[in-house]
């Protein structure tokens, strides 16, 4: 009696373990399916209301804009529910590929480096992949030096500062670029992100392009130089720079607050991190065939960080919307299409600028992006 009871108990425990293990392996399945449309007759006209439910996930940089778009979009389309989960770009891409979400937001385009581009194309079959920029934001170089109102930095100097090669603010190399500015003898403390982030990836990409002789590290979302001050998240970097006199960091320009923002040399002029200057660079950049892989509706840029044009700010973060041209149901596709169209529309971009200080897409780029989004059926 007693031994058979123990047997039963252990059998139950075994079932529990296996059950838990099974849960660990499988992802939560599609939540992106659209619910039955209540009003079928409304379809057809582009301005018709859409309904149903879609979920997206990804970039935290986009999160504030996504929240603002969702609120307005749901206001205009009573039957529609859109959700966006800021799990991070990598997580968003992974969820999109595994069919757990209908769309994703990512700070870096899908690439072949980890096979993600191919997998995403496969996920969209028999339709096609859609990837378009929807969020452009300047990354400011913020510094904390009381009394120094304006700081000019050449790309090489910037790279040396973040590579810990220039250690004091009154270094001749910095003084040379800032004549007439009283630079203190304070130690320079470069502040970087301690978490993996698209901001870091874009910033290190910039440094490696403009100062290849100084910045020999690999481009990555994880900060490559050891020994600096590290803080988590944009707010953490801003907090650390604000707390320490002599600190310098990089962060989304809209979050810089009271901190000084350095002017960066572009060509022969000094550029400041304004939304307009940030948006302009995509018009000067070429699309990257390797990132587009022959897909008609993928718009991915090789950002021209080395541009010498005036009025352009090259340290930017470009985040993209990722979706498919075909979904399981026409309703779901219509909803994704309507939502994407709203996000990239001038109203959507203006809202995004208001919500997170992003730079609106230029007129030229908007046309291209509209064509790509228009391919969703």
């Amino acid at each position: 009696m007693s031994s058979s009871r123990w047997l039963a108990v252990f059998a139950a425990a075994l079932v529990l373990v296996l059950g838990l293990a099974a849960c660990g392996g499988s992802d939560s399945s599609s939540s992106g399916s659209s619910s039955e449309s209540e009003n079928e007759s409304g379809g057809g006209a582009p301005s018709a209301e859409v309904s149903g439910e879609i979920a997206g996930a990804g970039s935290t940089a986009q999160e504030a804009s996504q929240k603002a778009w969702i609120a307005e979009f749901e206001n205009a389309n009573g039957g529609a529910t859109v959700s966006y989960d800021g799990v991070g770009s990598g997580g968003g891409r992974e969820k999109f590929i595994s069919n757990a979400v209908a769309f994703a937001g990512s700070d870096t385009p899908l690439s072949e480096a980890e096979g993600e581009l191919g997998k995403a194309i496969k996920r969209c079959g028999p339709g096609e992949l859609v990837e378009v920029p929807d969020y452009i934001s300047p990354i400011a170089i913020v510094y904390n030096l009381p009394g120094v109102e304006e700081l000019k930095l050449e790309p090489e100097t910037l790279a040396k500062i973040f590579n810990q090669e220039i250690e004091n603010w009154n270094d001749p190399e910095i003084e040379k670029e800032n004549p007439g500015v009283e630079l203190p003898e304070t130690r320079i403390v470069p502040v970087n992100r301690s978490d993996e982030s698209g901001t870091t990836e874009n910033f290190t990409d910039y440094l490696s392009k403009v100062a290849p002789s100084v910045w020999t590290h690999e481009v990555s979302g994880e900060w490559p130089v050891k020994g600096g001050e590290a803080a988590s998240g944009t707010s953490g970097v801003i907090e650390a720079v604000s707390a320490g006199e002599g600190a310098i960091g990089y962060a989304d320009a809209s979050q810089a607050g009271e901190l000084g923002k350095a002017l960066i040399k572009v060509g022969s002029t000094w550029a400041e991190p304004s939304p307009e200057a940030a948006a302009k660079i995509l018009d000067l950049s070429k699309e990257d065939p390797e990132l587009e892989k022959g897909q008609k509706n993928v718009i991915a840029f090789e950002i021209d960080r080395k541009t010498e044009a005036s009025g352009v700010y090259p340290i930017i973060l470009v985040s993209s919307l990722i979706g498919c041209t075909k979904y399981k149901s026409a309703d779901e596709a219509a909803l994704v299409k309507a939502y994407f169209e709203y996000a990239i529309s001038p109203e959507g971009q203006a809202l995004s600028a208001e919500a997170s200080g992003a730079a609106p897409l230029s007129a030229e780029l908007t046309k291209k992006v509209e064509a790509a989004v228009g391919a969703i059926e």
């Binding site: 997580g91 130690r187 001050e229 320490g244």
Partner: protein, 317 residues
């Protein structure tokens, strides 16, 4: 043995008296207790199975395949070091303090003050770790900057205070202090319970032999509570090793192994590293993070095992 027999007999007598009703209650209770105990084991096994299966791809991958291009061991070693350093630092600060607080509450303070103080110490455990983290970066960190500059100037010859002192206060020393505050209530609650149970006869005996209050505590209370203090400290250490949010928020992690507690470059901890890098990771990078979680699991298991061993050895027979 004999006590089991008597309870069974008593149970049978009672069962006979109430016509089998009580017997069913007994069975339900004992089954429920067994199920609860086995569930705990099953959960633990489930976590272990998850860590091993999900971490396996990273454990078996060559260093070239791993996202950082370095072997798993060289990736996890500085993290394990940082985890242990933070945990040990927190213990060094918290355990003596917790013992002192527990002794004050049980043997020195008047009853009313003891009750209030005990209540407030317990309250520390109810504060969420993210609040500790924010308090660390906004209050304790900046406040510790002058102190750390002083340590660098006066005690800089000791490697742990080598400096240069951080200008923001996000250092291992501050993390150790915050973790110490976090584990203080756990350690002191366990110690308090044990100290309060010291047999009066022992204490009175010591006093009758002419012992002062300190001597009484040293010869009776401390030895009596020793094993409980150790197990309380291990509970606290477990919490400190696994603490995630507070460390992730406060610590300026720049990798590398260093004993310098007041600099801007600190080794990260396993849990904080997972929290910081998981959101942007995909593919093998996630497996790598989970594999580091497995290492943390093993470290925690090992410390608990060693603690049990120490307790078993120090048990008065």
């Amino acid at each position: 043995m004999s006590s089991v027999d008597t309870t069974t007999n008593a149970g049978q007598i009672l069962a006979a008296a109430s016509g089998g009703r009580r017997r069913r209650g007994d069975r339900i209770f004992s089954n429920a207790a067994v199920v609860a105990a086995v569930t705990i084991l099953a959960l633990l096994a489930g976590v272990a199975v998850f860590l091993v299966t999900e971490g396996f791809p990273a454990l078996t991958a060559s260093s070239a395949e791993l996202p950082k291009g370095e072997s798993f061991l060289s990736y996890v070693a500085p993290l394990a070091f940082g985890t242990c350093l933070a945990g040990v630092l927190a213990m060094i600060i918290a355990v003596p303090l917790a013992i002192a607080v527990a002794l004050f509450i049980t043997h020195i303070a008047p009853a009313r003050i003891a009750l209030t103080l005990g209540f407030f110490v317990d309250l520390l455990a109810a504060i969420p770790s993210i609040i500790y983290g924010l308090w660390g970066i906004f209050v304790l960190g900046p406040a510790a900057v002058p102190a750390m500059k002083w340590l660098e100037a006066k005690l800089g010859w000791i490697p742990i205070f080598e400096g240069p002192a951080s200008i923001t206060g996000r250092t291992m020393l501050v993390v150790g202090l915050v973790l110490a505050v976090m584990i203080l209530p756990i350690v002191s609650a366990v110690a308090r319970e044990a100290f309060a149970q010291t047999p009066r006869k022992l204490q009175e005996g010591a006093q009758a032999l002419g012992a002062t209050r300190w001597e009484t505590i040293r010869t009776t209370v401390l030895p009596f509570g020793k094993s409980s203090v150790i197990s309380g400290a291990m509970l606290g250490l477990g919490r400190a090793l696994g603490e995630t949010m507070a460390v992730a928020i406060i610590l300026s992690v720049s990798g590398g192994v260093t004993f310098n507690l007041i600099g801007q470059a600190n080794p990260s901890t396993i849990a904080a590293n997972i929290a910081l890098n998981f959101p942007e990771s995909s593919g093998l990078a996630i497996n790598l993070l989970i594999a580091t979680g497995l290492v943390l699991f093993v470290i925690t298991l090992a410390t608990n095992f060693i603690a049990r061993l120490i307790i078993a050895r120090s048990q008065p027979q």
